[in-house]
Amino acid sequence: MTVVTANTGTTRAESFTVRASAETNRAALCLYARRLVSWYEIAMSNNLSRQALDLDAPWISQDTLSVEPHQIVAPDGSYDPDDVPDLTEEAFLDLYRWMLFEKRYAERMVKLQRRGELGTFGSSRGHEASIVGSGYPLQDSDWLLGMGRETMAMLQQGVSLRDMILFWRGVDDAQQFLAQENCMIGISVGGYLPLVTGIGWGMKRMDADAVVTAHFGDGATSTGASHEAINFAGVLDIPAIFYCQNNQWAISTPFEKQTNANSIAQRAIGYGVDGVRVDGNDVLAVHAAMTEARELASQGNPVIVEGLTYRRGGHSTNDDPSRYRDDEERETWIDRDPIERYERFLQSEGLWDRVDRETLLEGIDEEFDAAHEAADAYGPRDVEEIFVHLYDEMPPALEAQMASFGEFLETYPEMDEHVDRRPKG
């Protein structure tokens, strides 16, 4: 052991060994992060034994804990039949349709955006299993606050596709319709997690048969708000599920620059909640974990569920990922496509016969077309919209601002030239 006698200035460092194993582990993590080898392999080899260190105190480090990701169906489609959740055939097929829907939705939305019909759009390509598996086990009474990359989970709660289009068009009313289904999209990353804790606290206080889910990304876990929210939930036994879609990127920031920890799931240890990492490209594993998560949460055990997946496209339509990451990495993840894997599963289960992919896609496209039309048909809104709904009762000064702006618009029609977007869906 090293002894430093500070006040005399003498340092006897002779016996201190550089922490070789920590370095080794770090290197493995970076490898992992750089995805030059499969994350499955690395994740499974996390349990690197620490080299004998000349440290006397019982330090805990990344080596102390091994987080095994939960996987039911392997990338090649193989699985142990005993592990398969006991779902009805309809449910198995339903999961497939939802995943296809998420994929198709993202493709169509990107196209709409390119045509100038949306402000911006954040594609979920690659997250299909993570989104669908995490949303499916939720109940009607549950609440879901997300960040925009969990559309089908919201649709499962009752949100309409039209409203998602309106949302990305910057039509204020969209969040009204989401709220009607107990959903919200929080744009400030991580900042809505305390609300989730509060909602769950309300459920607990009211003894409601419901849980609240936060959907958020790996980036969000670095915010102070997320920390306070989860720790708080742990102390107060709040029925909340913190579902992290760890897609390994926050815009251009890779997971290994987001935290030096090996997983987000292990944060659970620090909060006294339960946590699990699942293969976010394995819809059955996500579904199984979220089902358990919901049970745990309803019993007052808040949980962190980390779905490990990959953002195949840019962060949003404004983003150009070629600036900061390799195509090679992306290729690797194409091979791990969640939908294709699940197709292989359905084949093995003999359910594939019951799937007519083309018809499904047609149906989805029709739904999308209808939603698109409905969004286009969404009535023009009055300019007053920007003043109302801030307060239950509008304060006099704001009334005055609204009135005089109304007069102004009548008196100065030239204002029209400066209004780029018409206030309709």
């Binding site: 400030s188 102070g224 708000a225 720790n231 107060l236 709904h389 307060y391 239950d392 006099p396």
Partner: protein, 321 residues
């Protein structure tokens, strides 16, 4: 009952919790300890640990948690131990509390109260003496209330708890125990957004709020001037009518506030007078305020505070202009 401001707060919370089962009180040290100023004393014993809750040291989650509770239909009253510890939660106010009704077009709302003791003069440590009402008042969607008497404190806090929108309730801790008056037992309201005229006069309008009302009234009394003294009580929404009507009558005005001068709420008041009563002014409006510095530590804080002589000098300047 006959109550100080701190007792009025306790009484208001008790009255409201009795009346409305949805009301919940939480924050650091509010339950077992009854609050470091004893504002919440006895509540946990009376209403139980489900409704009066000690939280972790997490200002973000206290304020954000209040928003969530409100969304789920509860009536949260969160305490931030000192207003100097509200800035960590500023984002929760700006990004969620103030605008969740707006974001959801009225579908959801955040009827919550954030109570916090503000202001200098209690010989505390750094960050225990701030007045940032100007920053909160600038956030659209937030109501900002600052009482100055026990009667108003209970009436305004009652109103805040009845209010369908979020209220930041700044308590003048310096006078928590220095004034005492009779207050009704019931859940009466002092309306949010209405100023009170504390003294009627002809020669000058003196506008202040919260802990500054006491030295303001003292200065007016000592000078023996014939002043309209307005206690704003609510910073936002601002009672412009009371201000403007008075200035139209007196033609002269003084604003007294404890916060730093530049960017303080005095500017908004002067702008209001400019908007609607400029041509009535016979002298520039005086701002008697804290200086543009952080509140000094306890050994020097008295130099920072607008004490009566400084207020009196300001009133004289305006009268003699």
């Amino acid at each position: 009952m006959n109550a100080t401001i701190i007792e009025a707060i306790n009484d208001s919370l008790t009255t409201e919790m009795e009346r409305d089962d949805r009301v919940m009180v939480f924050g650091e040290d509010v339950a077992e300890n009854g609050g470091v100023f004893r504002a919440t004393e006895g509540l946990k014993e009376r209403f139980g640990a489900d409704r009066v809750v000690d939280t972790p040291l997490s200002e973000i989650a206290i304020v954000g948690g209040a928003v969530g509770l409100a969304l789920y239909g509860l009536r949260p009253v969160a305490e931030i131990q000192f207003s100097g510890f509200l800035p960590p939660a500023f984002d929760q106010l700006v990004t969620h509390a103030s605008r969740i009704r707006w974001r959801t077009r009225g579908e959801w709302s955040a009827p919550l109260v954030v109570r916090t003791p503000y202001g200098a003069g209690v010989r505390a440590l750094e960050h225990h003496s701030e007045s940032l009402e100007g920053a909160y008042g600038h956030v659209p969607g937030l109501k900002v209330v600052v009482p100055s008497t026990p009667h108003d404190t209970k009436g305004l806090l009652n109103a805040a708890m009845h209010d369908p929108d979020p209220v930041v309730f700044l308590e003048p801790k310096h006078i928590y125990r220095s004034v005492r008056e009779e207050i009704p037992d019931d859940d009466y309201e002092v309306p949010i957004g209405e100023a009170a005229v504390r003294r009627v006069g002809e020669d000058v309008t003196v506008i202040s709020w919260g802990a500054m009302m006491e030295p303001t009234l003292e200065a007016v009394a000592e000078l023996g001037v014939d002043a309209d003294v307005i206690d704003l009580r609510t910073i936002s929404p601002l009672d412009r009518t009371s201000i403007v009507d008075s200035v139209k009558k007196t033609g002269r005005a003084v604003v007294v506030h404890e916060a730093a001068r530049s960017g303080g709420w005095g500017g908004e008041i002067i702008a209001t007078i400019n908007d609607e009563a400029l041509m009535y002014l016979e002298a520039p409006i005086e701002r008697i305020t804290g200086f543009d510095v952080p509140v000094p530590l306890l050994s020097m804080e008295d130099y920072y505070l607008p004490h009566p002589p400084r207020i009196a000098a300001g009133i004289e300047r305006v009268l003699e202009y």
